[in-house]
Structures are given as structure tokens and as C-alpha cells.
């Protein structure tokens, strides 16, 4: 239990560091949020709106305090979940923008990540168990090759070939535009259809890592005495693979969960942009390109918290799966 308490303390600390980093980043760099607002406008729009700079300055001009004062105010505000107003969606609160977009991202990355984990470790397990056979010689290299491409390349290829050319999948948005988000079957079906291609892309980009890791660890595990022992007992091959070797082999890759999940969250940004998926990843990019500090900061914090929560879940799972942790 002490182990668990230590983890919790660590997570709180990690959130604090993320918050502080967030606070410091924009203050270390030059640039003004007003300029960012204007960047969204094309030359034609700017020409059509003379005086727009003054309008924005009137809206956003603010006083200056010392950095420590700012920091205290900042922490105080964040602790009340007050992230301020989004400058690119002025005057909508950041929390509202994030609240509207986060559920879609969690759905997308959650499903895609769990699937790529299950598929990746499954393939890795089988490949290690039947070395040199079909899975090992063909499926593993295929996964490796596909995963060597950046997520945005895979996403664009998927959009073009599977979405536009073949017409199998919708290519934009989280649901059909004539559907109102609600707990209805129409909406769920529509959301499911629109999530298919993004999820497939994330799986293609990230399952390869799991495959390689699982295969390596599994091969090591297979050499262990207890696996040979299980065989000696005359247990069925598949049972030995899953119950003895697989169950133990899965622990080390689970420890790399943080890095993997954080990586997948990164890929989410690209996938959302390419599929116009209204999630936080896409919102993050537009916030950054529009110098919308409050929004970009809040999203980074929220994504960090997501990774931390995912880690927490993994810790619990680890705790259940690994007897050593419980006895120590």
C-alpha cells in the first residue's frame, strides 16, 4: 500500500510540474496573443476589416504584474478549474472549449490505444511462441514497416485511399452533420462510423511498438524454467502460452505504458487535424497557431492529466497482476 501512496504523491507532483512548465513556457518567449488572433485572417479578410487591430487591442490589452504574483494567481485559478478565456474563441471560457472537445478525444485515443495494445501484445505473443512461422515472419515485419511511418502520413494515406477513393469511411468530423449529439442510436452509430478510420490509423501507427516489445519479452520468458515446467506437466500449448508465458511477459511492457500512451496522445493531434475531428488535439494545434495561450496551456495540462490517469489505471492493473507488488 505504501507503494501505492508513493505513486499518488508522485502523480500530484507531476501535475504540479506540468502546471508550472505551462506557466513558464509562454513567459520565456516573445509574441503577443493579439497578433495570434489576426493570424487567422487571410489578406483578403484583413483588407475587408480595417481597424481590426485596434478592436482586438481594446479587447485584450491588460496590465502587468510581477511574475510571482502572476504565478500565485495562476495556481489559484487553476485549482478552481478556471483556465480563463480562450482568446481565439473570445470570450468563451477555455473550460467550455475543452469540455466540448475532450470527450471525443478520450473516446478516440482510449479505444484506439486499448485496441493497439491488445492487438500488439497478442501478435507479439504469438510471434514469439511460434518463432519463424507465419506471424513471426510476415505479420511482425508488416507491423514494423507500417509503424515506421509517421501518423500523419498514414492518416493522409487512409483519408485518400480508404476514405475518398474507396468511399468506405467518412473522412471528416466526429458524426454526421445532420445528427445532434445525444444518447441515441443514430448518434452512436454515426459517431462510431466517423471514428473508424482515425482509430485504424492510430492502431497502424502504434501497434508495431507493442508487437516488438511483447515479442522480445515473451521470448525471454519462454526460456524460463516455469514455462518448461508447464509443458512438462502436459498442459496444452495454448494454455502455456497465455497463462504462463504471456501473463508474465506482459508486465515489463506495461511498465512502459506511460511513454507509449503519451506517444499515442501525440499521434492523436495529427489524426484529429487530418480528419477534422473536433477533439483537443486539433484544438491544440489551432490554439498554438493562433497564439491562444490560455487554451493551449489548458489542453497541455488536461492531456498530462489524462496520461497520469491512464498510468494510475495501469498501476492498479499492475498491482492486481503482479504479486510481488502486493507482498512488498
Amino acid at each position: 500500500m505504501r507503494w501505492f501512496a508513493r505513486r499518488l504523491v508522485f502523480y500530484v507532483f507531476a501535475i504540479w510540474v506540468a502546471l508550472t512548465l505551462n506557466f513558464l513556457l509562454p513567459r520565456l518567449m516573445p509574441g503577443s496573443p493579439i497578433a495570434g488572433l489576426l493570424e487567422h485572417l487571410s489578406p483578403a479578410q484583413l483588407a475587408a476589416n480595417p481597424g481590426i487591430v485596434q478592436t482586438y487591442e481594446a479587447l485584450l490589452g491588460g496590465g502587468h504584474h510581477s511574475i510571482w504574483q502572476d504565478y500565485v494567481t495562476y495556481l489559484h485559478r487553476i485549482s478552481h478549474f478556471n483556465f480563463g478565456l480562450s482568446t481565439s474563441n473570445y470570450p468563451t471560457p477555455v473550460s467550455e472549449v475543452v469540455g466540448r472537445t475532450l470527450p471525443y478525444s478520450i473516446f478516440l485515443v482510449g479505444v484506439a490505444f486499448i485496441l493497439s495494445f491488445v492487438i500488439g501484445t497478442g501478435v507479439g505473443m504469438v510471434a514469439a511462441w511460434r518463432r519463424g512461422r507465419f506471424t513471426d515472419s510476415f505479420v511482425v515485419p508488416a507491423f514494423m514497416t507500417v509503424s515506421a511511418f509517421p501518423a500523419f502520413v498514414l492518416a493522409l494515406l487512409g483519408l485518400y485511399f480508404l476514405g475518398l477513393k474507396a468511399g468506405w469511411f467518412p473522412i471528416q468530423h466526429a458524426y454526421d452533420s445532420n445528427v445532434i449529439p445525444a444518447w441515441s442510436w443514430t448518434f452512436i452509430w454515426s459517431a462510431f462510423r466517423h471514428a473508424q478510420l482515425p482509430i485504424l490509423v492510430i492502431i497502424a501507427a502504434y501497434a508495431g511498438g507493442w508487437v516488438l516489445n511483447m515479442r522480445t519479452v515473451m521470448i525471454n520468458t519462454i526460456g524460463e524454467d516455469y514455462v518448461g515446467m508447464a509443458h512438462a506437466k502436459g498442459l496444452r500449448d495454448r494454455r502455456v502460452m497465455t497463462r504462463y508465458a504471456g501473463r508474465n511477459a506482459i508486465l515489463p511492457p506495461l511498465n512502459g505504458f506511460a511513454a507509449q500512451f503519451a506517444g499515442a496522445v501525440g499521434g492523436l493531434v495529427f489524426v484529429e487535424i487530418i480528419f477534422s475531428y473536433p477533439g483537443v488535439g486539433y484544438t491544440l494545434q489551432s490554439a498554438v497557431l493562433g497564439n491562444d495561450y490560455p487554451l493551449a496551456q489548458a489542453i497541455l495540462v488536461v492531456l498530462s492529466v489524462c496520461v497520469i490517469v491512464a498510468n494510475l489505471i495501469m498501476d492498479v492493473l499492475n498491482f492486481v497482476l503482479d504479486p510481488r507488488l502486493r507482498t512488498s
Binding site: 514494423m144 502520413v153 501507427a205 519479452v217 501525440g266 495529427f270 494545434q285 497557431l289 492531456l303
Partner: protein, 322 residues
Amino acid sequence: MAQVDPTALDLPLAAPKRSIRVGRIRVPGWLALLLRNSKSRTGLLIVAFMVFIAIIAPLISVAHPNDFNILATRQAPSWHHLFGTTDQGSDVFSQVVVGARRSLLLGALAGALATLVAAALGITAAYVGGIVDEVVNLLTNVFLTIPAIPLLIVASGYLRARGMWTMIAVIALVLWAFEARILRAQALTLKNRDFVLAAKASGEPTWRIVFGELMPNMISRIAAAFVLVFYVSLLVDSGLEFLGLGDMSATSWGVTIYWAQVNSTVLQGEWWPFMFPSLALGLTVLGLVLVLAGIDEVSNPQLRAERTRGRLVRLLFGKAAA
């Protein structure tokens, strides 16, 4: 963006034999080992090819790969333009080969810097122990929970000048934690070995022990770390460029892909300005992943011995079990 998780890589601590003779050429031991493994051999060949192309780039490309040519816009690949031309008539082949220079250099340097930071921090922490170790460990773990790409997007969004060195520094600062954890764990197992204790007893300063004793003995592990961070940097950098958050006036794979996307070339059926740099990027990453997998196999007897299990099991328990 597959990441081979570093935890899975258990590498030998001792450096391999100094060199091996192949015919009349002396081949360094580590290279010979890697060349004997089919995976790393393929990987090394791919990477070497890319590096070779990058080196001879000025010889096989036009002088200014970003120059426009009104008479040759949007041409499909042909003998005249091997990889076709862009919307403005720039030669894609030239952009890809010249872009290889910057992409590879940036990835390698960012990888090297991140590895250096990771090695210095991780190994020192492990050796010194105590509060230093606690702090470094904490910092490493914190960095692992903040998603790297969103952090980089936000950081480079704030940057005004996004020159090569800035991007290298930013990427390295975000990615060092990947390896620091592993190198620290590795160093922990080393720190009580005789040669370290002997050096300590003879009164050598900490930095000498870290850099002079521990590091050379972990060189293969550090090399693997470098390969990993190298290709992650490549992917991350091209990703930032794809989002328009890199140095957009440079010539690199990510920048060519960015312009291909800005000009909506793929949707117009002009696949070449997008596919060729993407292929170059994917191939390089695949090469590095193969090298890494090879290092893994070379250093891990279990992985190396193909079908060992089958034979062993049969030997011990007879045919029925296999």
C-alpha cells in the same frame, strides 16, 4: 511512431571485442556483430544508403532545390524529374536528397544531445545516489508523463525563431527522459562492480568515474539509446514541420510534406511531392528500428537463438511436448 520500449532492451554490459578481421579490412567488433545479424544488417544498409545520399546530395540535385520554374510545374515523375515537380515547379528529387541532409542531421544531433543529457544525468544519479538520484528519477518520470508531442507543439508555437539549433535543443530537452530511466537502471547494477569500487577507492573524482569508468562500459546500451532517440527525433521533427511549426524556410522532408499538404496535392492526385519524402522518412525510421532490433538480438542470446525453444523443449521433454 512506433517506440520500441527501452525497458525491453537488456544489453550486455561489457563492450564487445575490439575488432575483427574480415578479409583484409579491419571491422570494429560492434559493427561485425551487427553485420552478422540479418535485421541490423538490413537496417544499417538502409541508414548508410540514406546518409550516403545526404552526403552526395549537392552532386545529384539542382543547386537551389526550392527554386521555382514556371515551365515545369506539377509534373509527374519522369526521367527529367525523377520524383516529379511541385506546384511551383521545384524538383522534388532535389528537395528529398537535399532535405535528407537537414532531416538526418537534425535527428542525429537531437538524438545525440538527448542521449548525452540522459547518460550524464542517469548515470551520475545512479552512481551518486541519495537525493540527487531521487531528484533525477522524479524529473525523469515527470517528463515521461507529459506527452512529448503536445509539449513540443506548445513550446515551438511560442518560439519566434525556429532555426535548426533551437529545434535540436527543444527536441532534445523533451526527449531525454526516454533514455535516462534505462541508463540509470543499468548504471545501478554496475555501480557495485569491482572496477568501479576500485576506482572509487583510489580516490578518483566522481566525474572521472562516471565518464571514465561507467560510460565506456555501457557504451552499447548508450548506442541503442541513441538509435532510439534518433528516430523518435526524426519523426517528431517532421511532425512539427508538418504542422507548420518548424523552420519552414529550410529544405527538409517534413517541409516538403508540409507544402505538399498546403497545396492539397494528394487530393488532386499528385502523389509525388507527398509520397517521396514520406517514403524516405519511413524507410530511414524502419532502418533505425531494424538496427535497434538487431542490437537487441545480438545482445540477447535468447532472441538470437532461433527456434531454441523448440529444440530445448524437445531435448528435455521429448517430442510430445513440442
